[in-house]
Amino acid sequence: MRINPKYTQWGAVTILTSATIFTILILVFIIFFILEKGLPVLGLSFLTENPQEMGKAGGIFPTLIGTIILPVFALLIATPLGISTSVYLAEYTKETRITKVIRFGTDCLAGIPSIIFGLFGYIFFVITLGFGWSILSGGLTLAVMVLPTIIRTSEEAIRAVPNSYRKVSFSLGASRWQTVKKVVLPNALPGIVTGIMLSIGRSIGETAAVIFTAGSSLRIPSSVFDSTRTMAVHFYILAREGISSENAYGTAATLIIAVLFVNLLAYYTMHRFIAKRS
């Protein structure tokens, strides 16, 4: 029996549309569910007070510090490495065996699950190099983890800079490095910033890689050799050990707001960048 193509057309479009709407509803539900339960807990005192009884009462101030310090530390290391890798790939070489190897390594690194980064960071930074559970170990581990994101987004941004810009710079007698520094990088900056933002977002939400490298101390760190606890780790401990579901919701809401803010900022920067290019 043949079904009229008009009906299959109608049926298919209906199914595809509902699948898309369903996907969006899941996202909306997650965000609203967390915010609805968490926002009443969230307030200035929740953000600025120290936790009491392992987080059963009080606020999340030390985890806020950890959540800011760790990604910043990671990005301080990953950004220069990532950008110079992308400059090398996009400006200094043609497609050779070396670039293929670099690209393959970057892709593989991007696919490695965070628990493996956690294992690696633990055995390498915490144990072998003797950094202990610390901001140093956690930051270095996160740096390795976000490196592929920075490399990819920066390379795309650099390749999007029109060739005529480079030609003008060269014709004025500038060297390759002068061209990169004065012309290419400034023009690629918004795209590079997008990559940095996305990496910060990923670092903020990371748990598995952080808990085994930065530890989970609730004290405010005084040096990079101190352990720290991020909001994501704090939330995980609160939720998993059933310490306080109220404070878990509050922490989750803060976490979601931070991650959404950073990601929306990234999209906004990218959007401006694309609008300027076209």
């Binding site: 670099i102 490695i112 699950p113 390498f124 490196l147 808990i211 939330f235 989750a252 976490l255």
Partner: protein
């Protein structure tokens, strides 16, 4: 740059460019050097195929965890792949450009939500629904599949969209000119042409699902057993590492690193297949 000169700059850039690949090698080196000796000592067969995991008595069989990881991942595919591919087809072939512009970044936000939050939603919302309607403990294989299925949606959708959009317009125009409806064009022409990219998106989703840790720990229940039904509590390879790493020492710790070795190998194989599939897509263009 007078300090180092042009040649010097190039050399410095090249050295930094090796940072990603050397990190990868360093990770492999350290995970393998901690885990591989254990596998040889304990015996690969005993390690991979034995059912008993009891570090106190020196039993380190990860077969139940392997089966749990396989089932959770396949289940996540059943949930996530059709939904994701349908979404990708809708957005790239049927939605107006404005909707695409708004919806695609929105869906990518799903990827930005931390995995602990997914796990928490699973515990608070999904597990009670399963417990009350289907029975069992609620924290189960099924809950893991659904949560992971949702978590892989952004991966499946965005890579599928890229591959569908990479199909030349002339293919579609040819089909439409022959009198096919847009749906006939989509499923007979466009999807066939975009097949290798869509397969890649599913394989990358597989990799993401099998490597996911925190969400699975929270929703899947974590008992070590080979699942008999979707309502059983299960422990995946990743959960096994994360749950016991904080207190493991000696042989036990080596066994956890050995579990990491197995995970690393699985992920590398999946990623290599995906990158070959993506290269096929790009080569066709």
């Amino acid at each position: 740059m007078k300090l180092v000169g042009e040649k010097g700059v190039q050399r410095i850039l090249m050295i930094t460019a090796l940072s990603a690949i050397s990190s990868l090698l360093l990770i492999a080196l350290f995970i393998f050097s901690e885990g591989l000796p254990f596998i040889f000592k304990y015996g690969a067969g005993n390690f991979l195929l034995a059912n008993e995991w009891d570090p106190n008595t020196g039993h380190f069989g990860i077969f139940p965890m392997i089966m749990s990881s396989v089932w959770v991942t396949l289940g996540a595919m059943v949930v996530g792949a059709p939904l994701g591919i349908a979404g990708a087809i809708f957005l790239s072939e049927y939605a107006s450009p404005i909707i695409m512009k708004i919806v695609k970044p929105t869906i990518e936000l799903l990827a930005a939500i931390p995995s602990v939050v997914y796990g928490f939603i699973g515990v608070m919302v999904l597990a009670p629904v399963i417990r009350n309607n289907l029975g069992g403990p609620g924290l189960s294989l099924l809950a893991g599949c659904i949560i992971l299925g949702i978590m892989i949606l952004p991966t499946v959708i965005s890579i599928s969209i890229d591959s569908i959009l990479a199909v030349p317009r002339s293919y579609r125009e040819g089909s439409l000119a022959l009198g096919a409806t847009t749906w006939q064009t989509t499923h007979m022409v466009t999807i066939k042409a975009a097949r290798s990219g869509i397969v890649a998106s599913i394989i990358l989703g597989l990799g993401r699902a099998i490597g996911e840790t925190m969400a699975v720990i929270m929703v899947a229940g974590n008992s070590v057993n080979i699942p008999n039904s979707a309502l059983d509590s299960v422990r995946t390879l990743t959960a096994n590492i994360a749950l016991e790493m904080s207190y493991a020492t000696g042989m036990h710790r080596e066994a956890l690193f050995a579990t990491g070795v197995i995970l690393f190998i699985i992920i590398m194989i999946l990623n290599s297949i995906a990158s070959v599939a993506i290269r096929n897509r790009n080569a066709k263009k």
